[in-house]
């Protein structure tokens, strides 16, 4: 058993879209060569702004969309090479929690069906004992067993997210991809869900890929953090190192942009001007050079390599 549960290498996804009246076909380079690995029991936080490709990375790992290129190795097995039939039995080992607690549950199924179906598909339960097993899971995520026969619309947003978590855990997976699981929730409910996820990680020995745009949430839940910008990871490091001393100019700007909760420390300086360039025609060289305060002439010509430093941190920047 290797220490690494998931290894991702050169993962790429280009979406073909038709644009405008002319219906010209262009490629959105949503994910453009992403490398990272997650160790067993670890939480990797994937953070970035809207459109940076973080959600696509999550879907690619689970093969919910087909990658354009690159490799995903799960527990030493190459997933990208498997056909649908051979992938199917492996699916029980990696599951997903979604952002929208209203769209992610089938409104025509009861809680028992929603949570029980994954078990049935993978032959983990017989019909007779399904309710028993679902009941146990519900208790584990803080719901009551009596709520088995109810439909999703009878629950609040926070409770629905708990049902979504129970469904993800139904097949006893090793890896859970959590895609913005608290973004649709109010802060007080968000705190409940984050605490629950931390608690479950210990009890079920889970490994998380936690995707979020909320830097506070990422800092709270992650062991290591990867920062994405325009389809690429620009920096990856242990949480402590990354937050105390961000290396990449984008990471620095991103962290500085989060408003501080200390009213006596008002930030006046804005480190990042303008908008993110289009992923259809990303800038040549370093993708961040158009907005970077430290841009050098070579930044617009040469693409910096994403590579590890002596201290174990990864960064893609010509400054280092």
């Amino acid at each position: 058993m290797s220490a690494l549960l998931l290894e991702v290498e050169g993962l790429t996804k280009h979406f073909a879209v038709t644009r405008g009246m002319a219906r010209e076909k262009v490629f959105v380079r949503a994910v453009d060569g992403v490398d990272f690995a997650i160790a067993r029991g670890e939480t990797l936080g994937l953070v970035g702004e809207s459109g940076c490709g973080k959600t696509t990375v999550g879907r690619l790992i689970l093969r919910l969309i087909e990658p354009t290129g690159g490799a995903v190795r799960f527990d030493g097995r190459e997933l990208t090479a498997l056909d649908r039939k051979r992938l199917q039995p492996l699916r029980r080992s990696f599951q997903i929690i979604f952002q929208d607690p209203f769209a992610s549950l089938n409104p025509r199924m009861t809680v028992s069906e929603i949570v029980g179906r994954p078990m049935e598909i993978h032959g983990l339960t017989r019909r007779a004992e399904r309710d028993e097993k679902v009941g146990e899971l519900l208790a584990a995520v803080g719901l009551r067993r009596e709520q088995l026969a109810r439909y999703p619309h009878e629950f609040s947003g926070g409770q629905r997210q708990r049902i979504g978590i129970a469904r993800a855990l139904a097949t006893r997976p090793q890896l859970v991809v959590a895609d913005e699981p608290t973004s649709a929730l109010d802060v007080s409910v968000q705190a409940q869900i984050l605490n629950l996820m931390k608690d479950l990680q210990g009890r079920f020995g889970l490994t998380y890929l936690f995707i979020s745009h909320n830097i506070g949430v990422i800092r709270h839940i992650s062991d290591r953090v990867a920062v994405m910008y325009l389809g690429k990871i620009v920096e990856m490091a242990g949480k402590g190192a990354l937050f105390s001393k961000p290396l990449h100019p984008y990471t620095q700007a991103l962290l500085a942009a989060v408003p501080s909760l200390d009213p006596r420390r008002r930030q006046e300086e804005v480190l990042l001007e303008g908008d993110v360039p289009s992923p259809v025609n990303p800038p040549p060289g370093c993708r961040f050079h158009t907005r970077c305060r430290f841009a050098l002439p070579r930044c617009s010509r040469e693409e910096p390599e994403f590579r590890p430093r002596a201290d174990g941190r990864w960064v893609a920047c010509h400054l280092y």
């Binding site: 009246m21 002319a22 219906r23």
Partner: protein, 311 residues
């Protein structure tokens, strides 16, 4: 842009192909041997054979199809079996009439529908709203042909304001256009109302109000322009529907349009079959006689079971 147009045009090809195939099979499958129909039932076999050759009915179906399409593309739809006139002339004439009728109908429908829809939406649940929505319900539920008959009964027979049939003048078109447009007016009114209600809830309408714009500016400038977008597409659909509805209207009012031509065409062909079966019609009084005011200009009324001018 150019590529877009090309692509759109390319998409039309299979559709046109299908339509031509269906039209062609229509001609084929209609019962009766076309050569016999043309030559007349009592003609001698040699003549029938000659006709068959002349019109190419002896060729394989594929060849006939290719010829049909290549002629159709050149605007040659053949010669009417009935009066030996080129079909294209007949089509042009009749089609122009139906387009005229449909155009008048859609004008009436758009006018009534838009006004009723906008006012209903801005005064939701008012008496006007309720009345116009009940009216719209009648509009979509009323069979065109019945409405036509009723209009005729009231305005031609009893009030004698407008003629019940005939063509050539605008006043001949009014009743048919109203009958044909009623359903579309209802659909447009409902669509406009729904679309307006949807738009009025949008954030940018709130922005306009929050900026102190007058209510009528908010409604007629900001809301209506957005609400019209889905309504315009309904116009197109309704126009197509009218070409279909024209069949019924033209039959009721005995008007020389494309719809009636089509129905007549079907029955001309069918006539042989009907005759052969010697199936007596259920009515013993052929239509038209009792329609004093409805006597059409060309002197004959479509009679569905006994075409008076067979072949």
């Amino acid at each position: 842009m150019f590529r877009y147009i090309l692509k759109r045009l390319a998409m039309l090809i299979p559709v046109l192909f299908g339509v031509s195939l269906v039209s062609f099979s229509l001609l084929q499958i209609v019962p009766g041997d076309p050569a016999v129909l043309l030559a007349g039932e009592d003609a001698n076999p040699d003549f029938i054979e000659a006709v068959r050759k002349e019109y190419g009915f002896d060729q394989p179906l594929t060849v006939q199809y290719v010829r049909f399409v290549s002629r159709a593309v050149q605007g040659d739809f053949g010669v009417s079996i009935r009066n030996r006139e080129p079909v294209i002339n007949l089509l042009k004439q009749r089609f122009a009439f139906t387009i005229q009728l449909s155009f008048l109908s859609i004008l009436i429908a758009a006018f009534i529908g838009l006004i009723a829809g906008v006012i209903s939406a801005t005064r939701q649940y008012s008496i006007f709203d309720n009345l116009s929505m009940v009216g719209a319900l009648f509009g979509i539920s009323m069979p065109i042909f019945w409405l036509g008959l009723l209009l005729m009964l009231v305005f031609s027979v009893h009030l004698r304001w407008l003629p019940a049939g005939g063509s050539g003048e605008l006043r001949h078109l009014i009743l048919p256009a109203v009958a044909l447009g009623a359903a579309s007016a209802a659909v447009i009114a409902r669509m406009t109302r729904a679309s307006m209600l949807e738009v009025i809830r949008q954030d940018y309408i709130r922005t306009a109000r929050a900026n102190g714009l007058r209510e009528w500016v908010v409604i007629y400038k900001h809301a209506l322009k957005n609400a019209m977008i889905p309504v315009i597409t309904v116009f197109g659909l309704e126009f197509g529907y009218m070409l279909g509805g024209a069949v019924l209207t033209e039959t009721v009012f005995s008007l020389p349009g494309i719809g009636r031509l089509m129905v007549e065409g079907i029955f001309q062909r069918d006539y042989a079959v009907v005759q052969r079966l010697r199936r007596g019609p259920g009515v013993d009084d052929p239509g038209g006689r009792h329609l004093r005011a409805g006597e059409p200009a060309d002197g004959h009324c479509v009679c569905l079971f006994r075409p008076q001018n067979p072949l």
